[in-house]
């Protein structure tokens, strides 16, 4: 006999929430197929016009820019987060561990606005970096860093760093150290051990971290909006602009749908492309 006490009580609230979420997603989908009536919040009949309009260079370019931005951000984050995660998992000093953990994780809880604002002070024309560069004599006049893609990426890397560190560290902490010791005892040097054992074995963490960083960057709004200042347009800033400046919710909805589909497709492709490596990691 299968006893499942309280099953209904446990599942039905979650079911209600799931229903709400599904309804919200269905609403976006439904709106994406509606005609926009300028100056009104009501929408007209069904149409595919919104999706056709996305082929216009302005919007196609925004999609392309966003995907490029996401790749650059995720790749830079991975390169910077890996040593940190490695040190976090492998250090023998518990003080160092706690310090890295708090330093790396605190930004995760600060929210996009605080972090973006702090980068505005770092990157501004009178900001920290420019003052430093001018004082040290590297440049004569402040370098424009605000309102550039590079500035947006620097801030986004900072935003996605904590989650990448967490996911890489989770992956690294599950590696059986005996594999490394075996390689060492067979005469492999530390670099060789890292490249042939540790790195491949940490692949699941890398894939998880990279995809999450990609998805987060894709959905980032405050950073491209404030640091990009309208000169770096991404899918998220376009959607907000369409929704709240021109109240074109149908078009905003269709952009969201395509954006969601694109980011899911990229993540699925990433998983597919790295599957051989993951299989290698799980085989050990």
């Amino acid at each position: 006999m299968i006893k499942r006490p309280f099953l209904g009580w446990f599942v039905s609230p979650a079911g209600l929430v799931a229903l709400g979420l599904t309804a919200a997603m269905a609403a976006v989908f439904q709106f994406s197929l509606r005609v926009y009536i300028p100056g009104s919040l009501d929408v007209g009949g069904f149409t595919l016009q919104n999706f056709a309009a996305m082929l216009r260079p302005l919007y196609a370019l925004a999609f392309w820019n966003t995907i490029l931005l996401c790749f650059e951000t995720a790749a830079s984050t991975l390169i910077l987060a890996y040593p940190l995660a490695y040190a976090l998992v492998r250090t023998r000093s518990s003080a160092v561990r706690s310090f890295i953990l708090i330093a790396a994780v605190t930004p995760l809880f600060l929210g996009e606005v605080v972090r973006t604002y702090s980068w505005m002070i770092v990157l501004g024309n009178n900001g920290f970096l420019n003052t430093l560069l001018v004082k040290l004599g590297f440049v004569e006049r402040p370098v424009q860093m605000m309102f550039t893609a590079g500035g947006v990426i620097a801030a986004l890397v900072h935003v996605t760093m904590p989650i990448m560190v967490i996911m890489l560290a989770a992956g690294l902490s599950h590696i059986d150290r005996n594999c490394e010791k075996a390689a060492e005892s067979l005469g492999a040097g530390p670099i060789r051990v890292f490249l042939t054992i540790t790195l491949p074995l940490s692949m699941p963490g890398i894939v998880a971290g990279f995809s999450t960083a990609f998805a987060w960057t894709f959905s980032a709004f405050a950073t491209p909006q404030l640091i990009g200042g309208g000169r770096v347009s991404t899918v998220s800033t376009l959607i907000y602009q369409l929704g709240f400046s021109s109240f074109n919710f149908p078009f905003a909805a269709s952009l969201s749908i395509i954006g969601l589909a694109l980011s899911l497709a990229v993540i699925a492709l990433l998983k597919q492309a790295t599957r051989p490596l993951e299989r290698l990691a799980s085989a050990t």
């Binding site: 439904q30 040190a87 330093a103 605080v114 900072h158 959905s219 907000y240």
Partner: protein
């Protein structure tokens, strides 16, 4: 590991690399902290004179005060609802098989990858079609959707570590399912539930993008008020507020680390 010069060099360059990356992580916080005490009203670096006036302005600016209380209301409701709903569902997933189990789980975890603006837009459209206003329930609902995956994950980790024999023992001694749940399961899960709640509360309090879509002037939370402030003013008030924010968050996390073990919650402890 052998202590050859090459290995030592490798080790030290690794340490320097890690220190440099930590500097990158900490730099904005340090710069903000210095700016917050700048006496001048423009964002310039380094400050010429020092003052605490931006802290007073941060406290006295009414939008921030209102945003703080709005945010607290939303956060307490959303994380508590998410805790009850998410923990119960995590227990059900962990123990039972039922119809649509993986579908339901997939839907509830999907906010981890669906952009927040899509969820915000969806809830907004749904509300406008249902004729509901942009009140607190709407913001709370949005936040529940967004933080639920984190509560589920945290409960799930605790369930994996729970010794099932304790429940069996209670059952064999004649305790009924309700009593086992209240006196054995929930007390044992408490650290996980608490950390899940804390996690959810911090995330909800800081949520910005979806909130921007679903909140109105009357229900705007602190991050939304801060965003509106940056767009209008360029003085260090926000730096002062950020410093308070960073200090409180770091304090909460240090407490969580000391009492609950942050590494365990985040699943990064070595095994």
């Amino acid at each position: 590991m052998k202590r050859s010069p090459a290995n030592m060099a490798l080790r030290w360059s690794g340490r320097i690399l890690v220190a440099a990356i930590l500097l990158f992580v900490l730099l904005p916080g340090i710069v903000v902290a210095i700016t917050a005490f700048n006496d001048r009203a423009i964002l310039a670096f380094p400050p010429q004179a020092w003052s605490l006036r931006w802290f007073w302005r941060a406290f006295s600016y009414s939008d921030f005060g209102r945003g703080f209380w709005n945010g607290l209301t939303v956060t307490l409701w959303a994380s508590s609802i998410a805790l009850v709903v998410g923990a119960a569902f995590a227990i059900a997933i962990h123990r039972y098989n039922f119809v649509l189990k993986s579908l339901l789980e997939g839907i509830l975890l999907s906010p981890l990858i669906i952009p927040h603006y899509t969820i915000g837009l969806g809830v907004l459209i749904l509300a406008s079609q249902a004729g509901a206003g942009r009140g607190f329930p709407l913001v709370i609902l949005t936040h529940v959707l967004l933080v639920l995956p984190f509560v589920m994950r945290s409960t799930f980790i605790s369930l994996e570590n729970l010794d099932g024999r304790l429940e069996l023992a209670a059952s064999s001694l004649g305790a009924r399912p309700g009593r086992i749940l209240l006196t054995v399961t929930i007390p044992l899960l408490l650290p996980g539930l608490l950390s899940g709640w804390l996690f959810a509360a911090i995330l909800s309090f800081n949520e910005f993008t979806a909130t921007l879509f679903v909140s109105s002037q009357a229900t705007q939370t602190l991050p939304v008020a801060m965003y509106n402030y940056v767009r209008e003013f360029a003085d260090p008030t926000l730096a002062a507020l950020s410093v308070i924010y960073i200090a409180v968050t770091a304090l909460l996390l240090s407490l969580a680390n000391a009492f609950l073990g942050l590494g365990k919650i985040l699943n990064v402890d070595a095994h």
